[in-house]
């Protein structure tokens, strides 16, 4: 707010509204992802069709990117009620008879006449971020009353209940991560974090104790703890993914030359396990490149968050960082056995339009925050 600014040329004005590095890192990731999706779907039945769908997803994603960019994010505050309604509808929609579609044990798809359209929980993440940003920003940068914490937790709990109806454990974890990152930036006192961790541990124990998880979810968690539990069942995916990544070595087996990938040992290799393909075919160097791009993207987003003219914009940016960071940790982490296996995509890399459109929309939101950093 107190920053100095100069208007010397139109070119400088261009850079005021266009954050070139952010677009560059996002573009680089989208291209990198497309190359990996191409490699993973190569030789699959209808592989070309999938690549086309991936491209269409990118194209469609440009719409929310441009729209969010052009729209003054500060005006979103005025839409709090409708956004909550839309978010709730999106999370509930798969459970509405005739609109849901079940895959992989979760009814997390919105479908019309049995045709899968998109996964509503993906755009719901962004709506959740915007809504919670408005709530937290109303606390003026300090969260020191329990009532404030409970209010935020109430939003989170409501979202989690709707998500666990599907049920989609992975997405639920993403919402929790988003909330925590936003609370950090929002100024929550340290002791509340301690309480929150305690509650989370107790809740996890309760969930396991009372069998609130679906069998397949419990299996995945147990396999994470003990991978040799069932090498051909749930643990098989993890074992094969680790073999793929480990066997990639330093420089990888070459694009399209991954045996684990091409011989179908890696499950869902173009979606959730795209990193296994990358690790196998491009090796440690390819993985370093990817992590480097992610680091650049996240640091850029952090810079945008810092530069925001208000706390609202900073919180929106922080929520997006939390979303990406957790998905990167969870997705890559599960392929190397650091995290339990859940079905969440790797941002910009995994095949899947819902995720791509959401992430590009998130880029648009960041650009909106950036381009309005000086106020009007």
């Amino acid at each position: 707010m107190a920053r100095s600014r100069t208007h010397k040329s139109t070119s400088r004005r261009f850079f005021d509204v266009v954050h070139v590095p952010l677009l560059l890192w996002a573009l680089a990731l989208v291209v990198y992802g497309s190359v990996m999706v191409a490699s993973a779907t190569l030789g699959m039945d209808g592989g070309e069709g999938m690549l086309l769908r991936h491209a269409v997803g990118i194209g469609v994603g440009l719409v929310p990117l441009v729209l969010a960019w052009a729209y003054d994010y500060t005006r979103l505050r005025g839409w709090q009620g409708p956004l909550i309604a839309l978010g709730a509808f999106l999370l509930l929609s798969p459970r509405i008879p005739g609109l849901g579609y079940t895959a992989g044990g979760a009814t997390s798809w919105l479908a019309v006449f049995g045709v899968r359209l998109f996964q509503p929980s993906e755009p719901a993440k962004l709506i959740f971020i915007v809504v919670v940003a408005a709530v937290i920003s109303s606390f003026k940068g300090r969260i020191d009353k329990p009532a404030e914490v409970f209010k935020v937790m109430a939003y989170l709990a409501a979202a989690l209940v709707l998500i666990l109806l599907q049920p989609d454990l992975g997405t639920g974890l993403v919402f929790i991560a988003i909330t925590f990152v936003m609370l950090i930036v929002g100024g929550m006192k340290g002791r509340y974090f301690a309480y929150a961790v305690l509650v989370a541990v107790l809740a996890t124990a309760a969930v396991l104790q009372f069998g609130l998880l679906a069998d397949y979810q419990e299996d995945r968690l147990l396999v994470f703890v003990e991978p040799e539990r069932d090498p051909t069942g749930a643990g098989y995916n993890l074992a094969q993914s680790k073999i793929a990544i480990g066997s990639g070595g330093l420089a990888g087996k070459g694009l399209g030359a991954g045996t684990q990938s091409n011989l179908h040992f890696i499950p869902a290799r173009h979606t959730d396990f795209i990193f296994s393909v990358l690790g196998e075919e491009l090796g440690f160097l390819g993985a370093v490149l990817l992590l480097g791009l992610f680091l650049a993207l996240l640091v850029t987003a952090l810079a945008i968050s810092t530069s925001s003219r208000d706390l609202y914009g900073a919180l929106i940016s922080a929520g997006i960082i939390g979303m990406w960071l957790f998905q990167i940790l969870e997705n890559i982490g599960m392929t190397v056995g650091m995290m339990p296996i859940t079905g969440i995509p790797l941002p910009f890399m995994s095949f899947g339009s819902s995720s791509m459109v959401t992430n590009l929309g998130a880029v648009g939101l960041l650009l909106s925050v950036w381009s309005r950093r000086y106020g009007t």
Binding site: R142, L291, T306, L325
Partner: protein, 640 residues
């Protein structure tokens, strides 16, 4: 406001640290997996995608001395059952546990195997019995039917979804162009047993389920015939479906072997042995079932023919023999057709042993060609309380050693035996051993027995628990002198003895292998004749024996058998007494007597007399060898 900004900065710093920590954690984990321990993962990935298939080497073929095929290979359509298939495995596990009440019921077997069994004209129980065969490798498909009719195979293939555990595959099996001819000598093949698999170096590198020689030449020359397995490395996908060949090492076929056998002589020997048994039955020896015949080349020790009765069909073992068939072949009532009696059984040589006694007498100077003896039918030299009888109860009167041989007079040889006993030098035993009796000839076939030449030391050891029977008595030597008592020899040893006499006292080592050939037919190894035993008998003594043996076929105990043969034959009849059984008929000979080429021994268990049962068989075998007509001889000669 500025403190708030200040605070916000530290919160962003916190967030920045979280970002770096998360990405660094991932990076470290990837460094560990992809750089530090990449090799073990690479091995696992390789193991995932590569399957090695073993390529069986075609087993070497077996030829006779003239290049006639005795054993070859052919491919056969085998219907097998995959024991690792879920449906089958469950039944197998239940039949193998200790709880017999848990065994699959007849009805369950019928439900699963009923239809397939009916197609193959088997019962479900027979099918399951083959599947449950523990002699096979656990995961290898079990052959239940070989050479099933094409229409049945077609049906099985069409209905693969109904019988997912059925496999139809082409496998290489042994083929026997001459049927069961030479079965004992050639031997049969079968899946390697667990004992063989676990044992010595012969089977190093073998896999369970491999086909190996079980008996005969197939076993003796296993390492020659086996060849080297090849392998093919194929790439498979996650479902195990082959994607292509990565690398291949073709199998090296086993070497072929050429035997010393002449298939035509072998055929005649088996026919004549069977005919001799039939003739014995015709003469009233109804217990007779078994016998053996051996033909040797006297100059080289080559086995020209080796027959054993009863015989069996080696093709019964193709694809694994059924338990019922196996039990039938090993039942007491079957007279053990798998045994090669020519080398695995030892019999009293009876009067054919008299050549040894005569030689001992001649070499020690106790007897000469013209030494005369008086046979009254009863011999009481050892004392009136121990009379010995000649087979001719009325006695032979006064006769020479040579005539004693011709008529097989026991008294003559009692006399010589008693004299030898009195010298206490065990010269009779020495003479027998000088011709290789009482020890294995070392023939290149498995399972040979040593026979027995008894002596004082042996008797003491044999009766170590019965002190009163330990002393070597005059009767022991006297009994031995006529080839009875504890003296035992295999038909091969009897043939080798006569071959040695024919060969100037040198016994060549009997052998069946002539040469090893590689798969292109080039000779890689030739077996050179070697000396087995050097008797040291003088030419003069051997001359006496030769002349006496010619007398036997000319106008002695084998006169009837050899009448009209046209070529002089030196032979000796024998009739062995075996306690509790009918007499065993024996005949040994060599021919032509003036320029010996072949030695023959024929023995028929419980077949009666050598002159009328085994003599004619030996004649016809020699006829085949020497180009004489094969005739049916009926004599009533009951001499010994």
């Amino acid at each position: 406001m500025s403190t708030y900004r200040q605070e916000l900065k530290s919160r962003f710093a916190t967030l920045g640290i979280v970002i770096v920590v998360v990405l660094t954690a991932l990076l470290l984990r990837l460094w560990m997996m992809q750089v530090l321990t990449s090799d073990s993962f690479a091995a696992l990935a390789e193991n995932n995608r590569v399957r090695e298939i073993s390529l069986d080497a075609p087993r070497g073929r077996i030829y006779d001395r003239n290049g006639v095929e005795l054993v070859t290979n052919r491919s056969a359509l085998a219907v097998s059952i995959d024991p690792s298939h879920e449906d089958v495995r469950v039944l197998l596990n239940r039949s193998r546990n200790d709880d017999t009440a848990d065994d699959p019921t007849r009805r369950e077997l019928d439900d699963i195997f009923g239809e397939v069994a009916a197609m193959l004209e088997m019962t479900p129980a027979e099918v399951f019995e083959r599947v449950a065969d523990v002699k096979q490798e656990a995961l290898r498909p079990r052959v239940i039917a070989l050479d099933a009719p094409m229409d049945v195979v077609g049906q099985l293939l069409e209905r693969q979804t109904d019988f997912p555990w059925v496999r139809v595959e082409e496998i290489a099996v042994r083929e026997y162009p001459n049927g069961s001819i030479g079965a004992h000598l050639l031997g049969y093949t079968g899946a390697i047993s667990e004992n063989e698999y676990a044992s010595s170096d012969v089977y190093a590198g073998y896999e369970l389920g491999d086909t190996v020689g079980k008996t005969g030449a197939e076993r003796q020359y296993e390492s020659v015939l086996q060849g080297d397995k090849g392998w093919r490395r194929i790439e498979v996908n996650a479902s195990g479906r082959p994607q292509g060949t990565l690398d291949e090492q073709p199998a090296r076929p086993g070497n072929d072997i050429r035997l010393t056998i002449d298939i035509e002589v072998q055929r005649v020997a088996e026919e004549q042995l069977a005919a001799a048994i039939a003739e014995a039955r015709r003469q009233g020896y109804t217990s007779t079932k078994a016998g053996a015949a051996v033909v040797l080349d006297v100059a080289t020790g080559e086995v020209i023919a080796m027959a054993s009765a009863p015989t069996y069909d080696p093709s019964a073992f193709l694809g694994g023999i059924s338990t019922a068939e196996w039990e039938a072949l090993n039942a007491k009532s079957s007279e053990y057709p798998l045994n090669n009696r020519a080398i695995m059984a030892a019999y009293p040589p009876a009067s054919t042993f008299k050549v040894v006694t005569a030689l001992a007498g001649l070499e020690t100077g106790i007897a000469a060609e013209g030494t005369t003896y008086v046979c009254t039918g009863t011999w009481t030299e050892m004392g009136k309380q121990w009379p010995k009888r000649c087979w001719k109860r009325t006695g032979h009167g006064t006769l020479s050693l040579r005539a004693g041989m011709k008529h097989s007079c026991d008294t003559v040889f009692y006399e010589i035996g008693y004299e030898l006993y009195k010298r206490k030098a065990e010269e009779l035993q020495a003479e027998a051993r000088a011709f290789g009796l009482g020890q294995k000839t070392g023939i290149d076939l498995p399972g040979e027995v040593a026979g027995r030449i008894p002596d004082a030391e042996w008797k003491k050891e044999f009766n170590r628990n019965y002190p009163e029977y330990q002393m070597w008595l005059p009767g022991d030597t006297v009994n031995m002198a006529i080839g009875q008592g504890d003296t035992l020899a295999s038909p091969l040893q009897m043939a080798a003895l006569y071959a040695g006499i024919a060969n100037g006292g040198t016994v060549m080592r009997p052998h069946v292998l002539e040469a090893v050939l590689d798969s292109s037919g080039a000779v890689v190894r030739v077996v050179e004749p070697e000396v087995f035993a050097e008797s040291g008998a003088s030419e003069a003594s051997l001359g006496v024996i030769g002349r006496s043996l010619v007398d036997v076929t000319r106008d002695g105990t084998a006169k009837g058998a050899f009448s009209g043969f046209g070529i002089p034959v030196a032979g000796k009849t024998g009739t062995a007494e075996v306690k509790g059984k009918d007499d065993y008929a024996v005949f040994c000979a060599y021919a032509p007597a003036d320029a010996p080429r072949y030695a023959v021994a024929v023995l028929v268990e419980q077949g009666g007399h050598g002159g009328s049962v085994t003599g004619p068989a030996a004649r016809n075998i020699l006829a085949q060898l020497l180009g004489r007509p094969i005739v049916t001889i009926r004599t009533t000669d009951v001499s010994r």
